[in-house]
């Protein structure tokens, strides 16, 4: 048991025993040295909580199943979650979108040095520029150093890819999406994807077929990335969940980079900013200038 495990369990114990929350969502050890999420509701289960570098999912996803149906004026049962800095931004996102209320959440925030996917550092984490959550009720400090070099560039790989030719980019994504099996694990792992009926599965209107061809698969992923524009917190849960090693976060990070550069907006800074695509500034004049000028 590491010091972080101890502190997480202590925080969980205090929150559960004082009835400040009715459940703590964290991780426990599973078979074959892996970890899996756990919802702890009884104090005797607190000893199962752990945290290590393999904890690469976004636990805010589990809040959707705890929301009470709309129309009933019942608050969500109070929940505590063990969250990385990126995950905490999802909380702010969901508050902005009126899905949850801050008073029903307790954040056990972690200082994070990065998580792994299949024993390798995740791409998203290797470019992360944030080590401490923007919001927390309890802060668990990291065992490993969390310094970010001052010249670190959170979007270096994206910038490189932007300079490729269109043929190279299309060839890259065609090869990646060829492996996609439309399992929708990426969508299910994402706290930002909570539509009752996903556009990808609608038959009326029939946006996209489920044919296992690259154009259809590309449509799904580009569409999903666009629907997360200004909403994705770059937690990398989609990449962690993908069984076929597709670098999905590149699409989301590309959008996040553009939005940050053009508008100075980063998802989840606080719970008060309006959703990005739901507002505008009437003085904005934004166009990507085509290379031929009219």
């Amino acid at each position: 048991m590491t010091r972080m495990d101890e502190q997480i369990r202590e925080a969980a114990r205090q929150l559960l025993e004082s009835s400040k929350v009715s459940a703590v969502i964290g991780y426990e050890l599973a078979a074959q040295g892996k970890v899996r999420p756990i919802i702890v509701e009884k104090t005797e289960d607190i000893g199962r909580l752990v945290w290590n570098e393999d904890c690469n999912l976004n636990l805010v996803n589990y809040l959707h199943q705890r929301k009470t149906p709309t129309g009933k004026d019942q608050p969500m049962p109070k929940t505590a979650l063990v969250l990385r800095p990126c995950d905490v931004r999802s909380i702010n996102l969901l508050i902005t979108e009126q899905q949850i209320k801050r008073e029903n959440i307790k954040i056990i925030g972690l200082q994070c040095a990065g998580t792994r996917i299949n024993n390798k550092p995740s791409i998203t984490c290797s470019f992360c520029m944030e080590r401490t959550p923007v919001d927390y009720d309890v802060l668990i400090e990291s065992d490993t150093p969390v310094e970010i070099p001052s010249d670190a560039n959170g979007f270096k790989d994206i910038e490189e890819m932007e300079n490729w030719t269109a043929e190279e980019q299309l060839a890259f994504w065609t090869e990646e999406f060829d492996r996609c099996i439309r399992c929708y694990a990426c969508r299910q792992a994402c706290p930002g994807c909570y539509c009752f009926e996903c556009v990808a599965e609608q038959v009326d209107p029939h946006w996209t077929s489920i044919a296992m061809e690259v154009p259809e698969k590309m449509f799904f992923h580009v569409m999903r990335a666009y629907h997360l524009a200004g909403r994705c917190v770059l937690c990398g849960a989609c990449e962690a969940a993908c069984p076929m090693n597709i670098p999905l976060s590149k699409l989301n990070r590309k959008i996040a980079k553009d939005i940050l550069e053009t508008f100075g907006y980063k998802t989840g800074d606080d719970a008060n900013t309006a959703p990005f695509l739901a507002c505008f500034d009437s003085n904005e004049r934004l166009k990507v200038e085509p290379s031929c000028h009219f």
Binding site: V199, V214, V222, K254, D258, P290
Partner: protein
């Protein structure tokens, strides 16, 4: 190669400005290339970027979204929303191999018939230069064992 290539261009025109501008170009007998297929929408704000994505994936070589000038939207704000959405979508498409030149967002008012024709002409020539977009392959090429059988 460029001479025989006739691009397929999908144009989303807003009812109150750009579509009326296209109408004016027509009544004034101003000629412009016939590659565009026009879809009339009430407002450029109605054009879901997924329409644009679907157009490219289903075989369009170029897409135009023409709306009212900022400040002149018939529904007050629609074109501002469109502006924001497309600033994101255009760059995202550029990242997956659909060059940003293939998507044109512009403002054409109802009185600008001549300008409409110019915008369409310039865009069509540009798409002819860039060439065919190869996301969607002819379904026949997927299975190479096809022979024609008369119905």
């Amino acid at each position: 190669m460029a001479e025989s290539f006739e691009p397929k261009i999908v144009s989303f025109l807003c009812n109150w400005c750009s579509y009326a501008g296209a109408d004016l170009a027509g009544t004034s007998r101003i000629e412009y290339p016939q590659n565009i297929r026009i879809i009339r929408v009430p407002c450029s704000g109605r054009v879901d970027p997924l329409f644009v994505l679907k157009a490219f994936i289903d075989g369009a070589d170029g897409v135009m979204v023409l709306g009212c000038h900022p400040g002149d939207c018939h529904y007050q704000q629609g074109n501002y929303y469109a502006q924001r959405r497309y600033s994101v979508m255009q760059k995202l498409l550029d990242f997956i191999g659909v060059e940003s030149d293939r998507l044109l967002i512009d403002w054409v008012s109802a009185s600008e018939g001549k300008r409409f024709a110019e915008v369409v002409s310039n865009f069509t020539y540009r798409i002819k230069e860039i060439g065919h977009l190869t996301i969607k392959q002819d379904a026949r090429k997927i299975d190479t064992n096809l022979e024609k059988v008369t119905a």
